[in-house]
């Protein structure tokens, strides 16, 4: 059983489109995250949710909107996609202040 699963693994789309990435964890964790990994492999937090409540929004453009329908799910919706949004997006989960377990990543390519 996959602990943290996100779909899709690959996403190619045109500029201006709206797209969503879904994430689910079956570890019983109370905290979920979205991280962005850029072309230089740098990992940066985007959002953090604890018990479905938004805790961290790290100066992400408001075209990015996370939604947590329950503690096991954290989806990411992106409006009006731009070329600069191309990156790998990782979902992760943890018990608040311990190690995070990551999904396999979604490689988003905006053309």
């Amino acid at each position: 059983d996959t602990a943290v699963s996100q779909t899709p693994k690959y996403l190619v789309t045109q500029m201006g489109n709206d797209k969503s990435i879904k994430c689910e964890q079956n570890l019983g964790h109370d905290t979920m995250y979205w991280y962005k990994q850029d072309s230089k492999k740098f990992l940066k937090i985007m959002f953090s949710y604890n018990n479905k409540e938004l805790i961290i929004n790290e100066t992400v453009p408001n075209r990015f909107s996370p939604k947590s329908p329950d503690k096991a799910h954290l989806n990411l919706h992106i409006n009006s996609l731009e070329l600069g949004d191309s990156a790998v997006y990782f979902c992760a989960s943890s018990h608040a202040n311990t190690e995070a377990f990551f999904g396999q990543g979604t490689r988003l390519t905006v053309v």
């Binding site: 492999k41 990992l43 940066k44 202040n97 311990t98 190690e99 990543g105």
Partner: protein, 117 residues
């Protein structure tokens, strides 16, 4: 704000040899965890080892061990008996146990390790 610095963008080692990856961090806090994550070409982020700041004993996981120097804010990873499967990007990461910042991992920029046959 916490920062994590990995000063070695790339390293290489011969199979079966030992290699040490460096990491330093900056924080004013006393309670935190430190981690090393591995990212092979498959892209999956894999936890290698964890160190609690309150523990003086260095963490060990099979061939992987750390040298944690709290006063110096240093957290290096030693890989013994390197294997080809250890080829990956290695990230050092920090998480605070205090206040509102304990809901995010702060990562270094990574060290690309290549194990040569």
């Amino acid at each position: 704000a916490q920062t994590v610095t990995q000063s070695q963008p790339e390293m290489s080692v011969q199979e079966a040899e030992t290699v040490t990856l460096s990491c330093t961090y900056d924080t004013s806090e006393n309670n935190y965890y430190l981690f090393w994550y591995k990212q092979p070409p498959s892209r999956q982020m894999i936890l290698v080892i964890r160190q609690e700041a309150y523990k003086q004993q260095n963490a060990t996981e099979n061939r992987f061990s750390v040298n944690f120097q709290k006063a110096a804010k240093s957290f290096s990873l030693k890989i013994s008996d390197s294997q080809l499967g250890d080829t990956a990007m290695y990230f050092c990461a920090f998480i605070s146990l205090s206040g509102g910042s304990n809901y995010k991992l702060t990562f270094g920029k990574g060290t690309l390790l290549t194990v040569n046959p």
